[in-house]
């Protein structure tokens, strides 16, 4: 191992490449490293891995992760970290690093590359399956790694098998239904400065496996005693590993306190590393096994029915002595030491199984909750399944009996500073459920999510209820929730950020619009030109100019985002009759008709013009935002209600581009481009459609007007749209052809009282409310018709679409403003009765004044009534009028 420098809390230390930061800190003599979150008690390293509750650090280098246990960070040249007191800090720099995701489908997923996991992988490989093996450690071996032992040769061969993929530093964070696993692979922090910028730093694995084998192992458990949080009190397995494997020889004298044979294993390791083991205090009445014999041989004093009761700190707050208690005689004595190695039994890692609702079962023999699952889909092995080896023999002991003073600093959750006293208070307050205890004490809610404190809580509850012989089996485990370890937001966001956060849809004319200086608005995923300002123009200026061009000259708009659905089949006309409120079967070929559709509840949900291209062929247009919704709606009815109808629907939104040429001079301009069609109103009437070619390019021209003005919609294939557009512009200069955007479109249509679904409707309007009874067929059945009979849908007082003229002509009432009766005043509660609201409101250059559309209660019966519109501190006044403001006779469109 090569020596490297790293920085911790702004000081430079030496460490070995690849070792855990916790090991390096200990070797450098840092026993007391941080302070606890609430009580500000000195704290040091306790554990070996993700269960570490005390020493949380923020990475200043690499991924700059906000909070990680020092036990899982690998030391590398250039590593920089700072300690935290349980409260993380977010780096300002959002970082340029890449985070990615992968999807993986595999026969067998094995989680955990310890001996049990490797054996399971071997079995599945032998059965001819492909295996994905993921493990959160930098190397395989699990428990053996901590012992510094090599894995057996035959298991090494497993890793070399051609059908296995082994991913290290990859933590399964969630188990979901149907054998779906989410895992997080840390790919760069261990490389330090040598990490390539272009490589993703964290990869999120989405894994679907036919079979899953869970071999996650277990965490060692602490015990509850007074002042059990002092630096120098560690899990015995962790202490032995840091000292014997990583050479952190900073502890001279140690005591082992244990409830199982693991304490003996670790005592021997400490003894062999030169630590003076003052004694093993075992809560059990007796013990036997190879490790016990070995400890005896090593000459370590062993005391049964004894445990640690309390501890004493030195001036730095670190451990100085322990008080040992005989559990039978209650006699106590002190031992001066600086390391207390605790072995409170094992807690198998049940977390993932509880994610999908599997309830772990208490095993008295193992003094642990186990999950024994061996279905074809999901299998548990190793310690999770109860394989603790033949030299363990734990007892379900969680700590000595403590009085209230002792309980005050007997910590159950070190990160939350939650003590036995807190727990007792909760129980005394009447709490019986462990979920309540958790919430009352906050145990299990910190960064480690109760990995070691959860079982202690259960043990403490049982101890408090000794008379009722409460067993952990009665209490049950807490439910763990994904993720198993905290995962940075940035990793889960992956590459779906910035421009990729949501697809951007553009029309074939988009580039032209950009070059013309258009300001865009987002309409769903589409980018639509909102208006085209000339240099120095405000939005109002531009819109007025565009409106005047459309009403007095000729203007052009890209309407390509309109939803388009090609509907064909012998029953297409019948189908449309059922979908639209109005009749389509009587629409002659080559003609267009505006249609309105309702949901079954009678509420308007989309509109548009549909053209009959042939006997059995229609082209439906929908609102820009409604295209997908409407197609899904049509398909649902066809497939699930009317399979007898022979109709085929195809989305052609992005096949056909639509260019709207609008204005009194549009006929003349188009006439220069299209010479083989008589464009006169007699030969080519309103709402008729004609097909022809421009320079050999097929186009379909329709006399559809969303402005009330003379207008032609040119439909052309998406790929040819730009060519046709350019031809129009080549000819349009003498006409002062003007491009316009959605805002001008809105003004023009509002002047005619044409609605926009979603603006002049809000999901509560029937066609009648929109003053469109003319579009509701009395002759036929259609979706939604029945609902018009429901009492409220035909009740008096419904909001109806009307026009509104502000009293002051230059006033434009804000959209969304609410309308009250004239000079209505607030009641004693500060509420003012309203009578409707403004849906659309603009300045009309044609009218030379502001005007609005509004939904007003019984509005159609209230023509010419003056109403008030409170806007902030001002109260505007306006007159209700018909919703059509110009050309009521519809002369202009011809």
């Amino acid at each position: 191992m090569s020596e490297v420098s790293f920085s911790f809390d702004d000081k430079i230390y030496k460490g070995y490449h690849g070792e855990p930061l916790a090991a390096a800190l200990l070797r450098n003599g840092l026993i007391s490293i941080t302070n606890s979150t609430y009580d500000a008690r000195p704290r040091g390293i306790v554990g070996l891995g993700v269960e570490e509750p005390n020493v949380l650090v923020q990475l200043v280098s690499g991924t700059q992760e906000s909070m990680l246990p020092a036990t899982i960070i690998e030391v590398v040249e250039g590593l920089s970290a700072r300690s935290l007191t349980g409260v993380g800090a977010l780096p300002e720099d959002p970082g340029e690093a890449r985070y990615d995701k992968t999807n993986h489908y595999v026969d067998t997923l094995v989680i955990g590359a310890g001996v049990a996991g490797l054996k399971a992988a071997d079995e599945h490989l032998r059965a001819g399956r492909e295996v994905l093996l993921i493990d959160d450690q930098p190397a395989p071996g699990g428990h053996l790694r901590h012992l510094g032992e090599e894995i057996q040769t035959e298991l090494q061969a497993v890793l070399a098998h051609k059908n296995i993929t082994y991913v290290k530093r990859c933590t399964a964070v969630g188990l979901y239904d149907q054998n779906y696993v989410v895992a997080i692979e840390r790919r760069s922090d261990h490389l330090g400065n040598t990490a390539l910028a272009k490589h993703s730093r964290i990869r999120v694995w989405h894994i679907r496996a036919e079979r899953i084998v869970l071999a996650p192992g277990a965490f060692q458990r602490p015990l509850i005693f007074a002042n059990n949080d002092r630096p120098g009190i560690m899990f015995s397995h962790a202490a032995a590993t840091y000292i014997s494997k990583y050479g952190a020889r900073i502890f001279k004298r140690a005591v082992i306190v244990t409830v199982d044979n693991q304490g003996y294993h670790d005592a021997i390791r400490l003894h062999n590393s030169g630590v003076l083991v003052q004694g093993i205090y075992d809560a059990r009445a007796s013990a036997k096994g190879a490790s016990v014999d070995a400890a005896r041989v090593a000459g370590v004093t062993i005391s049964f029915r004894s445990t640690v009761l309390d501890t004493v700190a030195n001036d730095e707050g670190a451990l100085q002595a322990v008080t040992i208690q005989n559990l039978d005689t209650k006699e106590t004595f002190k031992v001066e030491i600086n390391l207390l190695a605790v072995s409170g039994g094992w807690t198998p890692i049940v977390d993932l199984t509880t994610h999908i609702g599997i309830k772990p079962k208490w095993s008295e023999q193992h003094a642990a909750f186990l999950v024994n699952q061996s279905s074809d889909k999901l299998q548990t092995v190793g310690m999770l399944a109860g394989d603790f080896g033949d030299d363990d023999n734990p007892s379900a002991f969680f700590g000595p009996v403590l009085d209230n003073e002792q309980a005050r600093h007997a910590y159950i959750d070190l990160q939350r500073d939650a003590t036995l006293k807190d727990l007792r208070r909760g129980v005394e307050a009447g709490l019986t459920s462990i979920e309540h205890i958790k919430r009352y004490t906050t145990i299990g809610t910190a960064h480690d999510q109760g990995k070691t404190s959860g079982m202690l809580t259960i043990g403490a509850l049982c101890q408090l209820n000794k008379e009722s012989a409460l067993s952990p089996a009665d209490v049950g485990t807490l439910s763990f929730r994904p993720p198993y370890v905290p995962v940075p937001f940035v990793a889960l966001a992956g590459r779906e950020r910035g421009e990729l956060s949501d697809p951007i849809r553009i029309t074939p004319l988009h580039k032209w619009h950009v070059e013309a200086g258009a300001i865009f608005e987002d309409v769903g995923q589409w980018k639509r030109p909102w208006y085209f300002p000339k240099p120095g123009e405000s939005m109002d200026d531009a819109v007025r100019r565009e409106c005047i061009a459309a009403r007095e000259g000729v203007a052009v708009m890209d309407a390509s985002t309109l939803g388009k659905i090609d509907i064909q089949g012998p029953d297409a006309a019948v189908f449309l009759d059922r979908i639209y409120t109005n009749m389509f079967s009587n629409l002659p070929e080559g003609q267009c008709r505006y249609g309105l559709m309702c949901k079954a509840d009678g509420i308007v949900f989309d509109d548009g013009v549909t053209t009959r291209l042939g006997k059995n062929h229609f082209l439906m247009t929908t609102t820009t935002g409604g295209a997908a919704r409407v197609l899904a709606w049509l398909e649902e009815w066809l497939q699930t209600e009317w399979p007898d109808l022979k109709v085929y629907c195809t989305s052609v939104t992005e096949h056909i581009s639509t260019i709207a040429l609008v204005g009194p001079k549009s006929r003349q301009l188009l006439g220069e481009l299209v010479t083989d069609i008589d464009l006169s109103k007699e030969a080519f009437p309103f709402m008729h459609s004609r097909e022809t070619k421009i320079d050999g390019i097929p186009v379909r021209i329709a006399r559809i007007s969303f402005s009330g003005e003379l207008a032609f919609e040119i439909n052309v294939s998406w790929g040819h749209a730009r060519y046709i557009w350019q031809q129009l512009w080549a000819l349009g200069l003498p006409y002062n052809l003007t491009p316009y955007g959605t805002e001008t479109m809105h003004v023009l249509r509002a002047e005619k009282g044409y609605i926009i679904i979603g603006q002049d409707t809000d999901g509560t309007q029937t066609p009648y409310d929109l003053n469109m009874s003319w579009i509701v067929s009395k002759k036929k059945e259609f979706i939604g018709k029945r609902s018009f009979q429901l009492p409220y849908l035909k009740a008096a007082g419904r909001a109806q679409l009307v026009g509104l003229l502000p009293e002051k002509e230059d006033e434009v009432i804000p959209e969304g403003a609410y309308i009250t009766a004239l000079n209505a005043q607030p009641d004693e509660h500060g509420k003012t009765m309203h009578t409707g609201f403004v849906t659309s409101s603009y300045f009309s250059p044609m009218l030379g004044r502001g005007f609005a559309l509004a939904l007003v209660a019984d509005g159609l019966k209230r023509m010419d009534e003056m109403v008030s519109v409170p806007v902030g501190k001002k109260v505007l006044q306006a007159k209700i009028c018909d919703a059509m403001f110009i050309d009521k006779e519809n002369i202009r469109r011809d």
């Binding site: 941080t34 780096p91 889960l492 609410y818 609201f837």
Partner: protein, 420 residues
């Protein structure tokens, strides 16, 4: 030992986390069910407990019990993102939520119980021209309803929440926001416990681990409930069971237009305070606040399908976080500590159902969907009135089950997306 002088050198000057106030010595009495009560509330969540409290306090009905099949307030009360506001679009909604907010404002005093109610303000962002239009409508509607509401420009939003990205160059820029200064958050468990304690103190029996398995209905009138602990007679029964409402209604022989869906949320570990306002964005699906202790609490979307499993799909969380980073680049290294799901009861119009049922003396309160927490006191208040008097309060009249038959829906779908 006093700890101040033993601070580890590296951590001097680091921020200490906020300490929580101590809980009272007794929360509620654990009792065995009596043979009979004047009224039984089925469901020991926040709404059920609030109902019991107001029955006792406002209507003097203390011979009542709350039956909870699991642990108290272990359903959606324990699983929501605790956002409180009243700036709803429709008058009916605004009225009931505003009544609730007014109760919140004196609730800690009323119950004698601290619940970290914090009026830190709620921002609702608009991300497009049409979004602005509908949010402004909401703002104007609130003004007439006497509800505090402001319209903020992107710059004003930035002033209030400095970590928010208002650049016009992002996929869906912030175009503005409505702001309700009186909105905020509270600590969800404590709200339930506060109601439980206060109700228990007034004599209400709170009974956990008791599942209702049927209703004793004779001549279309309820006389009690069958439970896992035997039959309990009751003059009146209130069903306040959120996601399980359709099951209970079926047991009583009628149907409710409710679909139960998983709704997920997540928290981060404790972080230094960066966000002092609740921020909601329906358009990009972000609902976030930073709780008192320092964790970021975020709501995600509902899963698409019916479920009682209290867990949702992970892709919903991933999508949620991608959206959150667009708005809050500083969150990039925050971590997801825990995700969880609740089962929300969604009505066709995303509005609650509170009132009488086809069975005499049996009352229902459900359909709060994704936004019930904020309504806890208000919902309990009107439900208690409905049970005590046998007729709805003015505020819950519009929310009758009957509205689905008349067509008089209160459609908050369009207004709020996921109405956290």
């Amino acid at each position: 030992m006093n700890t101040q002088d033993t601070l580890s050198p590296g951590t001097i000057g680091r921020r200490k986390a906020v300490t929580l106030p101590e809980q009272p010595p007794q929360l509620w009495r654990n009792v065995k069910p009596k043979k009979a009560y004047d009224a039984v509330i089925v469901g020991g969540g926040g709404h059920g407990l609030a109902t019991a409290y107001y029955l006792a306090k406002n209507h003097g009905m203390t011979n009542i019990a709350v039956l909870e099949k699991g642990w108290l307030a272990g359903g959606n009360t324990a699983r929501n993102t605790t956002i409180i506001r009243s700036n709803y679009l429709w008058d009916e909604s605004a009225a009931i939520y505003e009544h609730s907010l007014k109760l919140w404002e004196t609730l800690e005093e009323d119950l004698g119980y601290e619940m970290f109610f914090s009026q830190r303000g709620v921002l609702t962002l608009a991300h497009s021209v049409s979004d602005v239009r509908s949010k402004k409508r909401n703002f104007y509607a609130n003004a007439l309803n006497g509800i505090d509401s402001e319209w903020l420009t992107p710059e004003e939003v930035k002033k209030l929440v400095p970590i928010i990205n208002i650049s016009p160059d992002v996929r869906y820029p912030v175009h503005g926001a409505t702001y309700q200064p009186r909105g905020g958050i509270a600590k969800h468990d404590w709200v339930a416990w506060g109601f439980a304690k206060a109700a228990s103190d007034l004599g209400v029996d709170i009974i956990q681990g008791t599942e209702v398995t049927g209703f004793d209905i004779r001549n279309n009138k309820v006389h009690g409930v069958h439970t896992s602990q035997g039959t309990i007679a009751a003059g009146k029964v209130g069903m306040v069971a959120a996601g399980h409402s359709s099951l209970l209604a079926n047991l009583a022989g009628f149907s409710v237009p409710i679909q139960s869906r998983p709704l997920q949320a997540l928290v981060s570990p404790l972080l230094e305070q960066v966000l002092n306002t609740v921020v909601m964005s329906g358009a990009v699906h972000v609902y976030v606040s930073q709780a008192h202790k320092g964790e970021l609490v975020m709501g995600a979307g509902t899963d698409a399908f019916n479920s009682y499993a209290q867990r949702g799909g992970f892709h919903v969380i991933e999508h949620q976080l991608a959206a959150a980073l667009e708005l809050f680049p500083i969150f990039s290294r925050a971590q997801v500590l825990r995700t969880w799901g609740g089962i929300v009861d969604i009505a066709p119009d995303a509005s609650p159902i509170i009132g009488i049922t086809p069975v005499e003396n049996l009352f229902i309160n459900c359909g709060w969907g994704t936004g019930g927490f904020k309504a806890t006191p208000g919902s309990g208040w009107v439900m208690a009135h409905t049970i005590a008097t046998g007729a709805p309060h003015e505020l819950n009249k519009p929310f009758a089950l009957e509205r689905f038959y008349t067509g008089h829906l209160i459609d908050e779908h369009g207004a709020a997306g996921v109405a956290h």
